[in-house]
């Protein structure tokens, strides 16, 4: 290994008492650029080295306060400004509910940032390499010896004097430590091939993961937002049924909504005897009856029910509704004819609602009276 300039002279000691005494003497001798390395913190060493107390606590206080302010501020903004919601009947700004989260965020920021500050500010991360690494001195000090290293850049440094001092304190294995020449002449760290390689690898991994997540995973069950569901949609086949058809006709006995039974199918006389027109001949009802009549009945029976539509003359002729037969029919009979049909006339039940049928009947009655007006009608 290339040896650069001298970094420090080191010495090892066996007991904590010795190292404390050594530190006291070295600091009394006026050295400032020196360090003590111990496998565990030795009580009283800070005093022996005349070191000030660590100021890390100040950072903790700042980060902690930052955490509290951020948490409370954010929650206040959310609940009071951005989106006000009444939750549990409580006021918008509910400070008791903020306490747990504010506490947690305070602790989180204070603790984590304190550790980070220690590592970055005091341990000088990421510039962590040091001439003492990988030396026999470090191996010993990591295990069971206590060491002191007086740096060459101390203003009072003189190699012979330092060696003498360390020897007089009982130091063993007094050895010089050199800077690593390679390390000193290291090029720009930024373009270190390993670092670039790590960057490229990270880029590949991240983009691969992103692509997979957004282009593949979000289309796979069950992450695909329920876009594919195990339900039958219109016109889909289905294995569940023997014929493989998904769409099924209504089951035997299904009735329509609003279904009412009609017991007089094919029995016009009974219908005539039992059914009563529920509607009254008001202008509104008659107008409705007229409209429906003109729509459904007039094409065959004529505009005035005289049987004089364009079908007149064809066989069989749609009869006039002003015959004595029809005039003497009870309303229910006409209702039966509209509902079931008669001869060539088909059933109009699916086209004309029940109420409309009664309205039409009222209109027919009006027409019948109009076409057979008597003297007394004018009075």
């Amino acid at each position: 290994m290339n040896e650069g300039p001298l970094h420090s002279i080191t010495a090892l000691f066996d007991t904590p008492d010795e190292i404390i005494r050594a530190a006291e003497e070295v600091s009394r001798a006026g050295y400032t650029r020196y360090d003590v390395n111990t496998p565990y913190p030795v009580r009283g060493m800070d005093k022996a080295m005349r070191l000030r107390q660590s100021r890390l606590g100040i950072f903790t206080l700042i980060f902690g306060l930052l955490g509290t302010i951020t948490a409370v501020g954010f929650m206040t903004w959310v609940t009071l400004v951005d989106y006000r919601l009444v939750i549990g009947g409580k006021p918008f700004w509910t400070w008791p509910a903020f306490v747990p989260i504010a506490f947690e965020v305070t602790v989180l920021l204070a603790s984590v940032l304190t550790a980070v500050t220690m590592i970055v500010l005091y341990f000088k991360f990421p510039n962590i390499s040091h001439p003492l690494h990988d030396t026999p001195y470090m191996k010993q000090v990591s295990s069971d010896k206590f060491g002191i290293s007086i740096q060459a850049n101390d203003p009072k440094f003189d190699e012979a004097a330092v060696r003498q001092l360390l020897r007089s304190l009982g130091g063993k294995e007094i050895a010089p430590i050199y800077f690593d020449a390679e390390g000193l002449s290291h090029g720009q760290r930024l373009f270190d091939p390993k670092f670039l390689g790590a960057l490229v690898l990270t880029a590949i991994v991240v983009s691969g993961a992103t692509y997979f997540s957004f282009n593949k995973l979000l289309f796979m069950q069950p992450f695909s937002w329920m876009s594919e569901q195990n339900k039958l949609k219109a016109q889909m086949p289905s294995d569940f049924f023997k014929d493989g058809i998904g769409m099924r006709p209504p089951v035997e006995g299904t009735v329509d909504r609003g279904f009412l039974p009609y017991p007089f199918k094919g029995k016009p006389e009974e219908a005539g005897r039992n059914l009563v027109n529920p509607l009254l001949p008001t202008p509104a009802v008659l107008a409705r009856g007229k409209a429906k009549f003109l729509t459904f009945c007039s094409p065959c029976h004529g505009n005035f029910a005289r049987g004089d539509s364009r079908l007149q003359g064809q066989f069989p002729n749609p009869p006039t509704l002003h015959s004595d037969k029809v005039r003497n029919w009870p309303d229910g009979n006409i209702y039966s004819v509209i509902t079931d049909g008669q001869n060539v006339m088909p059933s109009y039940a699916s086209q004309i609602s029940r109420e409309d049928r009664w309205a039409i009947i009222l209109y027919i009655r009006a027409l019948q009276r109009a076409q057979n007006a008597k003297e007394s009608d004018f009075k």
Partner: protein
Amino acid sequence: MSTAAIDYTQEIPVVEGKPKAAEIDATVAAPLDEFPKRAWWITFAVTASMLAFGAYCAFMTVFEGLGLWGINIPVAWGFDITNFVFWIGIGHAGTLISAILFLLRQHWRTGVARFAEAMTIFAVICAGVFPILHLGRPWLPLYLTPYPNQHGIWINFMSPLVWDVFAVSTYFTVSLVFWYTGLIPDLATLRDRTTGKVKKTIYSIFSLGWRHSNRHWRHYERAYLILAGFATPLVLSVHTIVSFDFAVSVLPGWHSTIFPPYFVAGAVFSGFAMVQNVLIFVRQSFKLKHFITLNHLEKMNQIMIVTGSMVAYAYLMEFFIAWYSGNEFERFAFINRALGPYAWAYWVMVCCNVLAPQLFWIKKIRRSIPAMFVIGVLVNVGMWFERFVIIITSLHRDFLPSSWGMYYPTIYDIGILIGSFGLFFTLILIFVRVLPVVSIFETKAVTEGAQPGHH
């Protein structure tokens, strides 16, 4: 009642056998250098199978949905939340040993702190699985966090379930930082004694260039004190917030002001039982009996008496105040616990939590490995049942009898519980082979002759 002389004038040594620093290095680092023996592989096979079964059940839950579990109305929280609270509770012993005993200057913690902290992290990992799994869409956990979204709405900061999100994440992060910070000097020691190139590189990276400098030790010690000082109230706050999940409701049996300290005491109780149980094996397998001494185990058992008694006090207070309140629903809730369809679970809980730890008053039992192991297991069983009883009995019979129902777990519920134990023990098994189980530098610092005499 013998008053055999205890010598009060002498400190009980924290580390037995007066090992030298180099010996400590060698003993603690030994498992990291050796290839695992058969016993480790067999245990690993068992725990890995448990984990695999649990992973399968969890996968099916995510894929098919929560209908695979036994939860329904009225018992909408079953094994999921029981296990969540159980594992968070287990984690608390680690932080207590590490942080609170540090603040109380109890030097005996050095033998067990590292391991206990690791256990905390693993327990919190196990716990964290459950809130995620019990979501309807577990792949959208981001919804639990306050990120700006196109709906324009935020999470409900009033809800203790949201407080849980912050509490558990903070707890995990801070425990991890605390544990890692404690590891740095040991990683440096390992770096300096290992010969394998790969290991050396890994240790070098993770030890952050630590060189045992006293100028760094002073900041390190301050940081450690600060972390311990924060971790202590954090422990209390996390299980308090978990207890708020229940206590802020109006449900009889849940809405009780003593829940926060009661839950914390119970968590420490079950956590210590778990630590004690696992340490019995670790100290045996890795020849660490001088560092994890019988005195350590005895102290843990004594803490179990204290916390167990606090739990017993809470049971009695709840019962008394339920009667005192005159509220018929409160009174019924407690009668139902003792005499209703889940009475068997209640009595298991009482016997294991109240009666079993009282045996530790007897010194012989306190210092007997087989006895303490059994009691530790019983305590864990009892504490699991305590959460089960609290959750299920209050949910399954609350105000309106027509809404009453029963809860029966399915194989998936049970499988995930087994899997969580598998995960926990698998992580421990990996940990003991990869990192030093005992804190090397802390142990060195408390052996006799480690600190200078006073002048």
